[in-house]
């Protein structure tokens, strides 16, 4: 009991020190494990200054990354915004690694430190460690090592081939980052050690197979025209992972450039789940810190004053400006996710007649088990489609606006009423679908016989066409990597070509 009093005194002192953090971590992990049954990676909590936070921002939280001007630009941009007061820095930044590294700002008060530890080191950490997206698409064990490998490799390339050349490859690969993800195939795990061994093996094979004799072969006379029928179509199936396709099949790309593309692809792959689970991830972390801090209050670790500060920050995080507010900038993922998770708990515990009709599966279940199940097995679009309840729609007063290019006016598509719930839910789910912000572009053909030309097809969805100037610039980057002409067709749902971009 004396321990509790000691802790209480520490937690209610606005100034923290090392012992405070240690105690906070101990209490919060215990509650997370015992009360919320969270399984997490071990934590590595790093206390950083604002400058170091800016550094962390620039590398999207990774402790190390390969050198590139883009990160420098992001750094300068953030620094400008921060020093001019246009942007605040977040209280924490956490990355999906094992151990789970989180950066906490030094100027957080004790209360904020506790909140942040509960939020990041329990909430996000548990999400990283249990959600299927993160388990299947990323390897938390090796990402830090892999980035160190990537850095080494790029530095070596810079030394060997010159910074300019490396920069060209990286620029081009970055332009295709969103098209470097295997959405359906689960990628193989990355590991710096294996990666190094793979490279060694590759050079070894090359060396073994080298034979001076081959160079003495006379060049073949003009090959007879091969029948370019459908059976020779390459690739057989369209490929949506453009980066992968270039890495594997670009006709004249040196090996080291393929390696660089591979690195960018792996990084893109690593961040893919983060973009697809923003609402769930933040919602679950907020749900976690809310429960943990309240539990601490119940158990007497913190006093009323602490709770007041906590509730102020908590409600600040959950602030959702309305559509006509000048602060409005889209739906707040924290609010949306937190509301849905809280509602799942409510439905399990105190269902209404409406809930019985909408969520028969949840009725009478253990709320914690259900929350775990949801947290582990969904991503944003499926999460919303499945669990956005009429009550949350009503509480947030969600409505949809139809913005049709052809129409002079917006139309209100659905509001929070009986007729609208399903529509709103479906719409919101689609809004979080990757396809709504990454155009669906696939490699459909390569002219293997004459020009080595690469054909890409953009499948137009909902009449959304490509932004012409950025498409041209991106195509130029593809042209550079592919080494031969590139053509992009935008096809509508009838398969009719609407627009063509070409790089000769």
């Amino acid at each position: 009991m004396t321990d509790k009093e000691k802790y209480r005194a520490m937690f209610c002192n606005p100034n923290w020190d090392y012992e405070t953090l240690e105690a906070a971590d101990e209490v919060i992990s215990r509650i997370g494990q015992e009360y919320l049954k969270l399984k997490t990676y071990p934590n590595q909590i790093e206390i950083v200054t604002s400058e170091q936070m800016l550094d962390a921002y620039a590398l999207t939280g990774l402790p190390t990354s390969y050198p590139h001007w883009k990160f420098g630009k992001d750094f300068v941009l953030n620094q400008n915004n921060y020093t001019k007061g246009r942007m605040g820095l977040s209280y924490e930044l956490v990355i999906n690694s094992n151990p789970c590294i989180s950066y906490n700002m030094e100027n957080n008060s004790t209360c904020m430190m506790l909140l942040v530890i509960a939020h990041a080191c329990q909430g996000h950490n548990a999400f990283f460690a249990n959600n299927y997206m993160f388990l299947d698409w990323t390897s938390a064990e090796s990402i830090v090592d892999y980035m160190a490998f990537a850095r080494e490799y790029i530095l070596k390339c810079e030394e060997e081939y010159g910074e300019e050349e490396v920069e060209l490859v990286l620029d081009a690969a970055h332009a295709l980052m969103h098209h470097g993800v295997d959405k359906y195939r689960k990628p193989s795990k990355v590991s710096a050690k294996e990666e190094n061994e793979r490279l060694k093996k590759l050079t070894h094979i090359k060396r073994e197979n080298y034979n001076e004799l081959w160079r003495t072969l006379p060049t073949a006379p003009n090959m007879p025209e091969v029948n370019t029928g459908e059976e020779h179509r390459f690739p057989k199936e369209p490929e949506e992972n453009i980066l992968y396709f270039i890495e594997k099949y670009a006709p004249a790309l040196p090996q080291w450039k393929r390696e660089i593309i591979r690195i960018v692809r792996k990084v893109s792959q690593y961040f893919y789940p983060q973009g697809a689970t923003k609402v769930m991830n933040e919602g679950f972390a907020t749900f976690t810190h809310y429960h943990i801090i309240n539990k601490m209050f119940e158990e007497g670790y913190v006093n009323d004053g602490f709770m007041l500060e906590f509730l102020k920050s908590h409600s600040g995080v959950l602030y959702q400006p309305e559509y006509n507010s000048k602060f409005y900038s889209g739906l707040n993922p924290y609010t949306l996710g937190f509301n849905i998770f809280m509602d799942i708990k409510r439905i399990c515990q105190e269902p209404t007649a409406e809930d019985r009709a909408w969520f028969p599966d949840l009725i009478g279940k253990n709320w914690l088990e259900q929350v775990h199940y949801v947290m582990e097995n969904f991503r944003d679009d499926s999460f919303i489609l499945q669990y956005l309840s009429p009550k949350v729609i009503r509480d947030m007063k969600l409505f949809t606006i139809v913005d049709d290019e052809q129409e002079e006016e917006y139309e209100i598509g659905a509001i929070h009423n009986e007729r609208g719930y399903r529509k709103v839910r479906e719409q919101l789910s689609q809004q979080y679908d990757r396809a709504s912000f990454v155009p669906n572009i696939q490699v459909t053909k390569v002219d293997l016989h004459k020009t080595s030309k690469l054909y890409l097809t953009h499948y137009i969805q909902k009449d959304r066409r490509l932004d012409a100037s950025s498409a041209k610039d991106t195509l130029e980057h593809i042209r550079y990597l592919w080494g031969f002409p590139v053509e992009l067709h935008s096809k509508n749902k009838l398969g009719i070509n609407e627009c063509t971009f070409e790089m000769k």
Partner: protein
């Protein structure tokens, strides 16, 4: 199981390398902006520390994206307070009203123009690059203070030429004494043991051991690496004194914007150079057309007057100011910029005599730059040419920024001779 790590003491410059890469990418934009910055800033600012803001166009990172103005989009928004299903709302003009419907999932960050803040050192680097200064000079001008080497005790590691024989020998003696003491003790002990034993085998072994130690004791090396001591030198800042720099410029109608820009760069360079050498540098601006006048910097560069040109009064004024305000402890530098047009040959001659008789004996260095395209030699040029010696008085034609540098060569040659 958690680790808590305090990173605050760690280096914060993790992004420095990437920032440099970024700067390199916008180098051209920065270089283009430098003339503007120089013409906006006062000469003294160019040294005063702080930072320079250079506006840079946001660098595009292209990727495939949807044109926000196309297609049929449905956007979910919170906080409905007035709408029912089927209501129609006019679109805002400009079509950007709903562009942000994707909320926080939107991966694109919009950025237009933003400014890069350059540190003073970085700014000077670009400034010098533009002037095409040789590297040696850049380095000299970059260093904030000049240093002198001063004796400071001894060190164990240095170049052979700095070997201090006396101290090394002392060390050697000490080491030999110490080692000898150890061996002596050992010998004594062994001898006692030898006297105390009776067994023959032991005796032989001890005798052998004794012999070995004796040999060791007699072969203590005279010098070992650890004995060597070298003279140590430390860099100490050279005591700095004050300097005054006279800027004399012709402001007659023939001096246009380009000429003034060149003159300003020239003055700035000299100013920076002097501030590297002296802690306290004062500036005196004298402008002249038919009469000379001391003015503020702003007036110096920005006002324009027409009329003919008489140079001699400005030199007289300078001499007068020098006598009145600056005694012998001041290092005086003078630079004069003109397009070379003078009223008469008489004036040019008078200038020559003034410079030779009253000015040069009292000052460190005088530079005269003539800003024209060398199509003709002016009277002033001809007059000065007779007395210029590149040692304390150099004259140059300058028309483009990169031509400014050679003017300094004389000055630097002199410096390096002094320090050598």
């Amino acid at each position: 199981m958690s680790h808590i790590i305090d990173r605050r003491k760690n280096d914060k410059g993790k992004s420095t390398g990437n920032r440099q890469k970024f700067l390199k990418r916008v180098e051209n934009q920065i270089k283009k902006a430098i003339p503007d910055i120089i013409s906006q800033e006062s000469i003294k600012d160019s040294k005063s520390g702080g930072s320079v803001k250079v506006p840079v166009r946001g660098l595009d990172e292209p990727h495939f994206r949807h044109d926000p103005n196309t297609g049929k989009k449905q956007i979910v928004k919170p906080g409905n307070d007035r709408f029912s299903e089927g209501d129609r709302v006019p679109k805002p003009k400009g079509g950007e009203g709903s562009g942000r419907g994707k909320g926080s999932n939107d991966p694109t960050v919009t950025e237009d123009e933003f400014t890069v803040v350059l540190s003073r050192e970085e700014f000077l680097k670009y400034f010098f690059d533009d002037l095409e200064l040789p590297n040696m000079v850049k380095k000299l001008m970059d260093s904030t203070e000049s240093f002198k080497m001063k004796r400071a005790g001894y060190t164990r590691d240095s170049v052979p030429s700095r070997l201090n024989i006396k101290t090394s020998f002392q060390q050697s003696l000490g080491r030999q004494l110490a080692l000898k003491g150890v061996f002596d003790k050992k010998l004594q002990k062994l001898e006692e043991q030898l006297a105390g034993t009776r067994k023959k085998a032991d005796k032989e072994a001890l005798a052998l051991e004794l012999e070995k130690v004796r040999r060791q004791a007699s072969t203590i090396p005279f010098f070992e690496d650890i004995d060597l001591r070298y003279n140590n030198f430390e860099r100490v800042p050279v005591p700095v004194t004050s300097a005054v720099m006279f800027c004399i410029m012709d402001v007659s109608a023939s001096m246009g914007q380009h000429e003034k820009d060149i003159a300003k760069r020239f003055f700035t360079l000299l100013y920076i150079f002097l501030t590297r050498q002296y802690k306290n540098v004062e500036l005196v601006f004298i402008r002249h057309h038919t009469e000379a006048k001391e003015v503020s910097e702003e007036e110096f560069f920005n006002s324009r007057e027409s009329g003919g040109t008489v140079v001699a009064p400005s030199l007289k004024l300078m001499d007068q100011i020098m006598r009145e305000r600056y005694d012998e402890s001041w290092n005086v530098y003078c630079c004069q910029a003109s397009d070379g047009d003078v009223w008469s040959k008489q004036d040019a001659l008078e200038c020559k005599n003034l410079v030779l008789e009253t000015i040069l004996p009292n000052i460190q260095y005088m530079a005269y730059i003539e800003i024209n395209d060398k199509s003709r030699e002016s009277d002033l040029w001809k007059a000065y040419n007779r007395i210029s010696n590149d040692e304390d008085f150099s004259i140059r034609h300058v028309y483009e920024p990169y031509e400014i540098w050679p003017v300094f060569q004389g000055l630097f040659r002199k410096r390096s001779e002094v320090t050598a």
